[in-house]
Amino acid sequence: MGYTIAEKILARVSEKETVCAGDEVLAKPDFVIAYDFPGYTDVIFKQMEEDFGIDKVAEPDRYALFIDHMVPATTTQEEEMHQLTRDWGAKNNVPVYERMGIGHQVAAELGYATPGAFVVHFDGHISQLGTFGALAIGVRRHLLEAFVKERIKFKVPETTRIDLTGTLQLGVTARDVFHHIVRVLGPRGCRGHVLELGGDTIDNMSLEGRQSITCLAMFTGAITAVINPDKKALAYIKDRARIVIDPLFSDSDAKYASRHEIDVSALEPIVVVPPSPADTRDISEVAGTEVHVGYLGSCASGRVEDLELAADVLEGHKVKAGFQLNVIPTSQEIMKIAAEKGIITRLINAGAFISSSSCDYCFGRIGVMRAGQRAVSTGTLNVRGRMGSPDSEIYIVNAAAVAAAAIEGRITDPRPYLKR
C-alpha cells in the first residue's frame, strides 16, 4: 500500500515507519514560523514565561519570526509591538526578519520551504510552502504548543488529489485556476484534507503561480496544499534549503479521499464576488461593475509574473483619473527583480502607485476604502470590511484584471488588452 506525501512527511517527523490518515501523532515541526501580531506572538511570548516558566526555546534554529504586518509602523504601539518581537528574538537567538517582504514569500526565499519539511504557523496562508513539497499548516492559537513543546499532537489528515490539465489562455492565471477549483469542489470540497495538486497544468506552471494556488488552499476547506517537488521546485530550493531532508513524494498507489481531474483550457478570468470567498463568477457575468480602487499584491499574488502581466495590460494606457491603483510587490527580492526588468518603471508610467512590500494593504490597515467604494483586488480575501469600511466591497480578480479595471474604472475582461 502506498502513502501520500503528507503521510510520509508526518511519519518522518513523528519518527514512525509509516502513518495513515486518521492516526494521531506527536510530530516535531522542522520549522515554527510566526509574524508578530497582537493577540498571537505577544500572547505566546507571555504564556511561555508566565504559564510554563519557559524563558527560551530549546532549538532556536527551528523558529523564525517575521515583521511584515504594521510595516512601516504608524503608531507607537505598533513600533513597541515590533520591538517586543525583536527583543524576544535576540534573547532566544531566533532570527527576526523585517522589512524584507511578506513572510510567507520570504520564508520560501530563505529556505524554510525545504521539500519534505513540516512547518507550522498560526496563519493558514503558510500553506504556500507546499509549492516546494513542504507540509505547512496554519494552526491558529495551537502554535503555542510548538513554542512550549518539542512536539505537537496532530491528526494525520486525508488527502484530496486534484490533477489540472490543459493550457491557460493569455490573461488567465493561477489565481483563476484556484478560484475555479473552489467553484468545482465547493467551499467544503476538501474540508479538513490536504489538497495535493498535480497534472500537466501544474507541471508547466511557474513556481510563482503554484504559490498563488497553494496559498489559498483554506478556501476549499483544506488545511493546506502540497505539490510533489519537481525539478523546478528542487532547483529553486537547492541553494536556499536550511536543512537537509531527502525530498518525499506521494506513491503512485497512495490512498486519496478522492481524486478529481479539472480541465482549465477553456477557463476565462474569474471574479470572486463579495462578501464570500466562495462566490465565484466568470468575469463576463460582472463586467461593467464600477470600481474605484485596485490592489495588486498580497502573499497570494504580487509576484514578478503578476506585475509583468499588469504592466503588459497597462502598456500604452493610463490608469483612469480618480482610480487608485496600488501595486505592492510581495517581497523586496521581487521588487528588485521587477525593477531590474523595467516592470516597475512601466507601472509607474501608467499611473500606478507603488509601495514597498507589506501585508498592510490586504487587511485594510492602509489604503483603506470608505463606505461605497469598491475594489478589484488580488488580496487573499473579500469579506466585508477587510479593506476598510464594512460598507465597501472587494472583488477578487487576477493581476491582469486589476490592471484592466484600473484603465476603465470598471470590471472588464483583460484579455483584449493582451492581444496586440
Binding site: 467544503r188 476547506g221 470567498p277
Partner: protein, 173 residues
C-alpha cells in the same frame, strides 16, 4: 475523568452553509475585546432579545462548514459570556474548529442535526456514547467522535490547560 455532557436549549440555528461567524457581532465590532460588551452585541441584527433570552448551558446549531471565511474570536467570546456552552453543526470549517477548541469551547459534529432541531428544544450531547439527543422530541443521532487531542483539550478547558496536562503526563512517563 471524561468530558462533561452538554445539556441546554437550542438558543439559535444558523441555517446558512459556510456561515461566517464574524457576522454574529458584525465586522465593525470585530476588534472589541470586552466579553460583556460582545455579549450584548451578539445576534443583535437578528434578535434584539437574544442576550436576555439565553440561559447558561444553551447551545448553538450550525449548518455545513460552519465558521468558513476568516473567523475571529470575539463572536464566540460574546456567546460564551452569555453562557452558551457549545456549538453543534453538520460540519465545521477546520480553522474555526481549531481556534474554538483551543479556547476550550466544545464543538460537536452531528450530521443531520439541522433536520431534527427547532429553536428552544432541550438537547443533550453525550460524549460517553457519542450520541446527540433531542429531549423535546425524543430523536437521537450519532455524533462524530472527537480526536484524542481535541477531547483532551476540551477536558482541560483549552490549550493552556491541555499543555499543562501533557507536562504532567510526560513527567509520569
Amino acid at each position: 475523568m471524561g468530558l462533561n455532557n452538554l445539556r441546554g436549549r437550542v438558543a439559535w440555528i444558523f441555517k446558512d452553509e459556510n456561515f461566517d461567524v464574524d457576522q454574529i457581532v458584525g465586522v465593525k465590532n470585530i476588534k472589541i475585546k470586552d466579553p460583556a460588551e460582545l455579549g450584548k452585541l451578539v445576534l443583535q441584527a437578528e434578535d434584539r432579545e437574544f442576550a436576555q433570552s439565553v440561559k447558561p448551558g444553551d447551545l448553538l446549531i450550525g449548518n455545513h462548514n460552519f465558521g468558513y471565511g476568516h473567523p475571529h474570536y470575539p463572536p464566540m467570546i460574546g456567546m460564551r459570556y452569555l453562557g452558551i456552552s457549545g456549538v453543534l453543526a453538520e460540519s465545521f470549517s477546520p480553522g474555526y474548529w481549531r481556534g474554538e477548541v483551543a479556547m476550550g469551547f466544545p464543538q460537536v459534529t452531528c450530521p443531520g442535526i439541522l433536520q431534527v432541531v427547532s429553536r428552544w428544544d432541550e438537547i443533550e450531547v453525550d460524549w460517553g456514547t457519542n450520541k446527540f439527543r433531542n429531549l423535546t422530541t425524543g430523536v437521537n443521532l450519532p455524533i462524530e467522535p472527537l480526536s484524542n487531542g481535541d477531547s483532551q483539550m476540551l477536558e482541560a478547558g483549552g490549550l493552556v490547560g491541555y499543555l499543562h496536562a501533557r507536562d504532567n503526563e510526560e513527567a509520569v512517563k
